[in-house]
Structure formats: structure tokens, C-alpha cells
Symmetry: C3
Subunit: 332 residues, 3 copies
């Protein structure tokens, strides 16, 4: 129980030391805030550890390497997948979990996010934060004395989702370089696709952003992606034209809560609905993905198609988070 090192100094330390490398030591004690912290080398390392975790889960369910280590999950927004997979990841490595959500936290009594983070750092070894406000994760980093994982902050970032998505593409296709990756649906409001596009920009792939005019990918994301100079970007609303060439079809939910006009939502929500008929026109070895939850964008009678990868995508979510926890806690 070391003496308390003042927050600001720590924060700078944490945020600057983001040059993760293939050396596992470069990950220990760090925070995961943004996809901007990752490069090709660090992703390759992470995916290598994730592969080991996948093998471990298959063979024995897990091990005890994080025995005596505690994860705090601090979720101010619900998220079955992100929260449960983080908890399962910690538990499968022999660690334990303390869970705090909006209704059980002291924020109601007027406590700042920073003080709540400082509190959890007093009891736990790593913290995962989900928050409805963009920038909350960076704010939290100024108060943390432990590795902190941004598990989604409003319309900001959701780095572990983007990482597990790229890991799924790599697992399914053997690699992302040279592939045609089509993101479809609400590209304007979907935090997931923003982080994902930025991460895919590291690879020389062909990105297609397909959305109705009202829900197009924000300009700053497109700019960031093209500025990398590796991936190419094409934008359109013509799903049918793009479909036959896609190696990956990444479908997202149109988020009802973002629309003021119910009629507009209804008009758009199933504009790119994927059905067995749609799949009949896609490549035979295409990968169909969705961050879930879905509300009809992919018909349930697609689930038995071997190209439907969204269940494997969830399983990958757990093993990627196992890899991250092991790396951040120095036990990879």
C-alpha cells in the first residue's frame, strides 16, 4: 500500500507511456483510453496473447494467474456484453470482481468521478469505466493509481470493442491487409464504428462506409482514417453495389434514442436489413459481424449461416479482454 502519488503527475505518466510494443513489459500498469494508443506491433502482440487465451479457455476454462487481483467495474450505463465479458475475463484468470453501477455508487451524494475512481483504486488492482459522457475516461485517468480501461465513454471511444472487432476479422480471415471491409448502418451515432474505423486505418485495407445520407460517418473520422495513408475509404448509400465484394460486412444498429422524430427512425432503422436473400448475393467466405444488441438489422434466420460471426465475435470479446487484463497486470 504505497504512499499516494498525486493524481496529475500520475496521469501524465499514464497517458504519455502509451507506446505499447511487442514487449509485454511495455503494457504493465498502463491505461487503455483510446484506439490512438495502438499500432500494428502492439495489436499483433495483443492478438498473440488473445490466441493463447482462446486456447486456454478451450482446454481448461482458465487458470489462476490473477489470483489475489481485483477488477472494479464501474458502469454508469448498462452494457451486458462489455460488463459481463470483462468480469468473465477476470474470473477466468483467477481474479475477482467488485461491481459498482449508477444505482450503487456515491455519485448520487454528489461525489466527483475522480473521487469515486480514487476510492476504487484503494481496494482494487484495475478499474474498468463505462460512462455516458465523452471525455469521462480521460477525466478518470487524472485520478487513477491503477490501470484503467475505458469501456465506452458516450459518443467518445470504446477501444476494447474496436480491438475485439479487428481481432475477429483477423481470426476469421487470417488478416486484414488487402481485404474489403464494409461498415453498414448508423455510422453517425455509433461510437463503435468510429473507434473501429480509426483502428482499421492502420491496415492497407479497402473501407466502405455505407449509410443513409442522414447517418453518414462523421467527417473527422473519415479525415483521420485517410490521413494515415494506408486504408482507402469509399462512402455511399448503395449497399447492393458494395455487397458482392465485401470480405467483412459489419452491421450496426440504428439507435432509436438518437432520433427526435419516430417516423424518421422507423424509415431508417431497417434500411439495410440482412436476410438469407441478402447473404445469397455475398461472398461465400464473407464474415458477417455485429457489435450487438441487434433489433432486426440481421434477421435471425441468418444465425445458422456459417458466415454469421457475431457469436464468435462475442467469444473473442472475452479472450481479448483476458489478454488485456493479463498484460496490464504484468501476467501475460
Amino acid at each position: 500500500m504505497e504512499k499516494y502519488v498525486p493524481a496529475p503527475a500520475r496521469a501524465v505518466f499514464n497517458l504519455l507511456q502509451t507506446n505499447f510494443t511487442a514487449d509485454a513489459a511495455s503494457w504493465e500498469g498502463k491505461c487503455i483510453i483510446s484506439v490512438k494508443q495502438f499500432g500494428l506491433e502492439s495489436l499483433a502482440k495483443l492478438f498473440e496473447v488473445a490466441d493463447e487465451m482462446k486456447k486456454l479457455v478451450k482446454e481448461s476454462g482458465g487458470d489462476q494467474r490473477l489470483q489475489g487481483r481485483l477488477l472494479a467495474t464501474l458502469f454508469f450505463e448498462n452494457s451486458t456484453r462489455t460488463c459481463c465479458s470483462l468480469q468473465a475475463a477476470m474470473l477466468r484468470l483467477g481474479g475477482s470482481v467488485v461491481s459498482v453501477n449508477e444505482t450503487t455508487s456515491s455519485v448520487k451524494k454528489g461525489e466527483t468521478l475522480q473521487d469515486t475512481i480514487a476510492c476504487l483504486c484503494s481496494y482494487c488492482d484495475v478499474v474498468a469505466l463505462r460512462h455516458p459522457q465523452q471525455g469521462a475516461a480521460v477525466q478518470a485517468v487524472t485520478a487513477t493509481r491503477r490501470p484503467l480501461i475505458n469501456a465506452g465513454d458516450g459518443v467518445g471511444e470504446h477501444p476494447t470493442q474496436a480491438i475485439l472487432d479487428v481481432y475477429t476479422m483477423v481470426s476469421e480471415l487470417g488478416g486484414v491487409e488487402g481485404k474489403v471491409i464494409t461498415l453498414v448502418g448508423d455510422l453517425k451515432n455509433g461510437r463503435t464504428v468510429h473507434s473501429l474505423a480509426r483502428l482499421l486505418a492502420l491496415y492497407a485495407c479497402e473501407l466502405h462506409f455505407v449509410a443513409p445520407p442522414a447517418l453518414r460517418m462523421p467527417e473527422d473520422v473519415v479525415r483521420d482514417v485517410t490521413a494515415r495513408g494506408r486504408a482507402t475509404v469509399t462512402q455511399s448509400d448503395a449497399f447492393d453495389a458494395v455487397l458482392p465484394r465485401a470480405d467483412v460486412l459489419y452491421v450496426t444498429r440504428v439507435q432509436k434514442e438518437r432520433f427526435e422524430d419516430a417516423a424518421e427512425y422507423e424509415a431508417l432503422r431497417l434500411v439495410y436489413r440482412v436476410t438469407p436473400e441478402v447473404l445469397a448475393r455475398a461472398k461465400r467466405d464473407m464474415v458477417l459481424m455485429h457489435p450487438l444488441p441487434r433489433v432486426g438489422e440481421i434477421a435471425e434466420d441468418c444465425d445458422d449461416d456459417p458466415r454469421a460471426a457475431y457469436v464468435r465475435q462475442m467469444e473473442n470479446g472475452m479472450v481479448v479482454r483476458m489478454a488485456l487484463l493479463a498484460l496490464l497486470l504484468g501476467k501475460a
Copy 2:
């Protein structure tokens, strides 16, 4: 992390393979949906394992046989007893728990129950589901890739409660054959007594259903029980006449939430209240049971009577669920 086997094929597999036997291998990987899956032989096996668990808890609190295994509890309705005893059962065998309830699930975002189940199966090794709608457990089975335990679905079934109740009778009396078992209270709305009556129908016992005319046991339950040809059934509202012969007195709560008329509820709720005076007229070795919570049907000054078995009944709830988890996960 095996390839995803399509849901329908799995579901049929799971539901058909319900001929549990005395061979522990016949339980592994199965779902527990209905008391209809159980016969005398399988109950005897389960009770044998439960006895071992009771001994284990008494001697050492538990063991580590389910280390690395995860239970997901998905509760869309509150239930202190069922949820806590399932969690405690898993933890006492060295396993871990991921807990999801209505307020933390993605169902609010419009996700189907099946997709939520598929999600939890991606992270966990066994799932327990509590749901307010009858039939939810069967629906969930169509999506599960892991053993699933129906922890109560509306006015449908609650098989583990019925099993622990019969186990308690067997533990207290040495057996159920030939015994006089009296179920008292709201037999119309109580899911618990429906599952229990169907399970007791396996034994050559004497069943008395005592309820006010408005709250009698549904006809289909009575028909199912008598159709077995083993137990005899008597129905009445004359508690006093039946009491002196009862070997088991199983009291249930009149459920306020089922009444539209508050006055009718008040008139019925304590019609069969058990007090020390009532117990004075019962057999000296009778067993007094209640699934709890109680709201006055059994006076608190009965608690010190050695016939009051409802605390031991709760303890049995945990050991029966330990036995079930061990059997379903191949570690009995």
C-alpha cells in the same frame, strides 16, 4: 471455443436428452426446464449427490471442483432465495458468478431473450434464468449452447424449488412413500405448488390440497397428478379436519399481486394462519415447510418449534443446487 452450432439443432438435442439416470454421465451438459424431466431414479441420484454436498459444506464449506467454471444468473425478477442460493452453490464449489438483472441487461435496448442467452453462453459455462413470462425457459433453450437452469418462469415451472422441497421431505422423514402431504394456501397462483405436486405424483403418497374455493389447485395439475396413478389426491377447504393426519404441512403465501380486489385479498391471506395453537393439534413429528417469503401465514413464534423446517429447507436449497451444478458440469 468451439464453432457455433446452430440453435435449433442444439435445442432439440437438449430437450430430448432428458432421461436423467443414476449414471452421472446422463446429466452432463443438459438443461433443467421442467419437473417432467425427472423420475424416481434420477431424483434418487440427485438426492444422493445433495447428501454428499451437505456433508461437504458441514465439514469444509465447499471445495474447488468447479474452479474455472462460470455461472451466469440472469434474473428478470427478484428472488433473494433462488438467486443467492444458486450463487452460493456455485461459489462453494470453487466456481465463479456473473450476475445480470433486468436493470443491467440489454433487453432495454430491444434485445431478444435468445440473443441475451447467446451472449451469456459466450462467456459462461452454465446459465440460470428467472423470467416473469411462462414459457421463457423453453424459449431460452432454443438459443443456449450451455446447460440452462429454469429458475422460475412466470406461472410456469420452478423445478429446482420443487426438487429441494421433495429433498427436504425425504431428509426430514426418511422418505415420501406412504406419507400424508398437505399443501395449504393459495394453490391457484402459486407456481411452486404446481411443480411440487407434479413431482410428488411420482411417489405413492397421500396428497391433500387445502385452499379456499377461489384459490384451489388448477384442474390440469390435479389431472396430471392423478394420471400418474401413484399418489392419491384429496381436495378441500377444511384445514382443521386434515391437520392431525399430516406428515408434511406445506404452507404458501397468498400472493397480493394476483388480486384485483384488496378486500378479497385481506379476507383470504391469513385464512390458514399457522400458530403454536395450530401446531399443538398436529403430529409431534410433522414437518412444517414454506417456500418463503412469508407474510404472516406462519407466526414467528412457531420458529422455535423443532417441526419448523423452513430454515433447513433453505439450506437444502443450496445443497440441491450444488448437486445440480456439479452434475450438469460433469463434476459430481
Copy 3:
């Protein structure tokens, strides 16, 4: 799984056997309800075990001495710090946790607190209760068959908070005897300071209670403290006069929820705000404490001052609770 011993007999047993000594055996199986159960000898023993726990956490994060033991946390009020530190304490010693709160308990169905406690005792080895009503912990003791920890009951007691506060003073200063300890803020409504003052009365220290006239320490607390004949008590509202001599400055939140008049709350809430300017007039080795959450009583730019002990205070909360759990479960 022993036969159920009737509640009243147990309760008397538990409450009378409160003469904790330096012998660890005197703690096993007991309930922690009130600071009145503690004397100098028992506190010294507890602090000795807490020191060992602090060393253990620093060196290895914890151990497995409570493997197979379950803690139930039953919280009818939120409390991030108390609940999380109890859970973390149990987990770091290899135990497990079952968590129940108001929204997941059967109290909504009309169950009594005693029945809920009896339920949790059927599954778990130790219970921690937080309740909004004074006296709830004593009520719970009448139903418990396991060690029970009062984790705060309304305006009643919060013994583990008071203990961790005294432990922090002892850790920071080497001892409390002869020290000047100043409690500042809302001394009327703050349950924490009532328990703390009563516990500090065991030591020959100089207590200063500083509060606005409307928020003074209740007379019965002052009477109890002075009746001990060891500590001296001075009361005033003149913070500036007292500040330079303080060895400990213990600041509390003015609790908005206790005021009917918002203007009165606003007038009082920051009357003793601690800032770097205030700290400049305090002793160089003073200890600045706060039970947290804070809502401005201590400015955030005090956090880097080495005298700011509130983060170490939280860390001490966990190790003190580790010590208590180990002692109550016979594993210290």
C-alpha cells in the same frame, strides 16, 4: 449444516459475548454491532492484525485463508466505500461474496428483515448489513446464526468506520494518546462522528468538536465521551482558533438530505472549507481526514499535500475489514 438453534437464545449469546480480548479466539463467531463492544486491548489486537493485512496486500495482494467462506452483503442503502471495501476484503482473503441490495431483495414482497437475515445465514458464513433505520442491526442479530457486521444503521452506529478512522490516526501518528483531535463540520447528523467520538473516548486525548450552533454534537454523545474520564472535550464554532494545535483534522460533509431549508444548507455547507490556505496555518505533520464522499469541504488542490490522509484512510478501511473478517471467521 447444524440444526437450527432458535433465534432469541443465539441473539443473547452473541450480544453478551462481546468482551473481545487480545486472544483471537475471543472474536470467532461474534457480531460487530456497536463501538461499545471495544476496549483498548481489543482495538490493539485488531490493529495488529490490520497491520499484518496491510503488509500482506502490499506483498502479494492477499491470500487464500477464507477459501470456501462466503460473505453476504445486504445493503438497503448505497455506500460505495463500505460495500466495496468489505467485498474487496473478503475476496483478497480468498473468500467469496453474495451481494443483495434493496432492489434485489424479497423485502419488497413483505418479508421481514429477520427472515431475510435467516435466509442469508442459510447460504453464507458471515453477513454485513447496511440499513437506513437505527436499531436495524440489533434487530438483525436476533435472527442471525452467523457473525453479523453492522455496516451502518441509520443515525445509529457505523462501528467499522469508526475503527478504521482510529486505526488511520494510530497509523499516521504512531498513537492517539495525548493528541489533539479536531472533528469539524456537521457533528449533529453525521453518524460517523458519533461512533468515532465514542471510540476515541477510550484514549487520553484532547477532543475538539467544531460545528455551527445548529449542527453541534448531540449532548448524549458528549456525555458518553466525558463519562469515560479519559478524553477531554472542548466544543466551539471557532475553527481558526483550534486549527493550529490540531494533530488530526477530521472533516465531515454537511448532509443536504437533513435540511428542510435549502438556504440554510447553502449557508452552512462550506462554512469550514479546507483549502491550501487553511492548511498553511496547520501543523506540518497534521493528519487531514474525511470519511468521504466530500462535496467541497476539502478543496481538491489539497489532495497533493502529504497531510491529506483520506486516500490512505480508504485503504485502511479495506485492511481493517480484512482483519475483522479473519478474526470473526477464526482465521486471523
